[in-house]
Amino acid sequence: MKKDLEQQDTVIEVNQLVTHYGQRKILDGVDLNIKRGEIRVIMGGSGSGKSTLLWHILGLYQPTKGRIHLLGQDIHEISFNDMLKLKQDIGVSFQSGALFSSMSVGENVALPLREFTDLDENTIRIISRMKLEVVNLGGFHKLMPSQLSGGMIKRAALARSIVMDPKLLFFDEPSAGLDPVVASEIDDLILSLRDTMGMSMVVVTHELDSAFKIADKITVLDNGKNLLTGTVEEIKASTNKRVMDLLQRRSRHDKLDPADYLKRLTQENYTLS
């Protein structure tokens, strides 16, 4: 279903998203509104629901409740063919890189072009090698993923995610596990892609330096709820204790319910409520 044209500047809209794993509520009424050309960072501690939110926005999980619009289209209502078309406007860079180990770097990058377009081989070769140049892997197309370092795998995955010139780009922990220099290079690339191609991006990360460098806005999730959304300055200035804990990397000191805790430890059939 198409939304009104006046809302087209909003490229990602999530309304009151609720989801459960079993009986446990993972997302509890999350709202998001992301504008064209915006870099939105999603932050939160482990188990806050940030990766789950990403998978839902990508349509990989079905929520219990709520609506998700990407580029004006309700992803739970559009036809299979429209979804296929929409997917061509979306790039995803997974935490692990998710390169196919049996294919060379060049073949991995070219894969979406072979899958979704009828471009000839020469054009596909030029585009995929151009993208490898963009991520500073020029000339590495013949290598196999097993021959790459962690940072190179992330950059190759990034090249693949932009090979279709997507309008929306999603990153799951783009700089996790990288040394600070390589992590900073990835951040610079993310900013360049937004500035030159006008891509809108959602970046899930727990790396504070990276978040502060690239974000237009940050959404902090906590226990599946949107705790706070604001600019970097607003997040840094927040007096919310959970946000301050996250920024200062302090462990959470939730007040325990002693009776529930005891049940968790002792009851054979205990389930989270």
Binding site: T123, M130, T196
Partner: protein, 102 residues
């Protein structure tokens, strides 16, 4: 009435190709055909990008192929008047160092 996507001016020494609007998967094949066709019949081809609002990777690839053809057939191929946005797309892939840009 919308302006033509591609028009060209040709004399025996030079073919100038003017592109307008957006270049993407839907029309980059036409651009490629026009560039290669022009290079087969004239010694020099200039692609004027002043009217280009957006160009995707398949459009850039068409121009790379044009340059590749020109270099292997001792012909000239160059670009002119890219908008700052188009120039920055070329710069991102470091193609500003590969093309002759007026």
């Amino acid at each position: 009435m919308t302006e033509e996507f591609i028009r060209f001016e040709k004399d025996p020494e030079l073919c100038q190709i003017f592109i307008s609007g957006e270049v993407d998967l839907s029309n980059s094949g036409e651009l490629r055909k026009t560039i290669l066709g022009a290079l087969k019949t004239t010694p020099a081809v200039k692609v004027n990008l002043s009217g280009v609002e957006y160009i995707d990777s398949s459009g850039i690839a068409a121009m790379v192929e044009g340059l590749q053809f020109a270099n292997s057939h001792s012909k000239s191929f160059y670009l002119c008047d890219p908008s700052p946005q188009v120039r920055s797309i070329l710069e991102l892939a470091r193609l500003d160092q590969v093309f002759d840009i007026d």
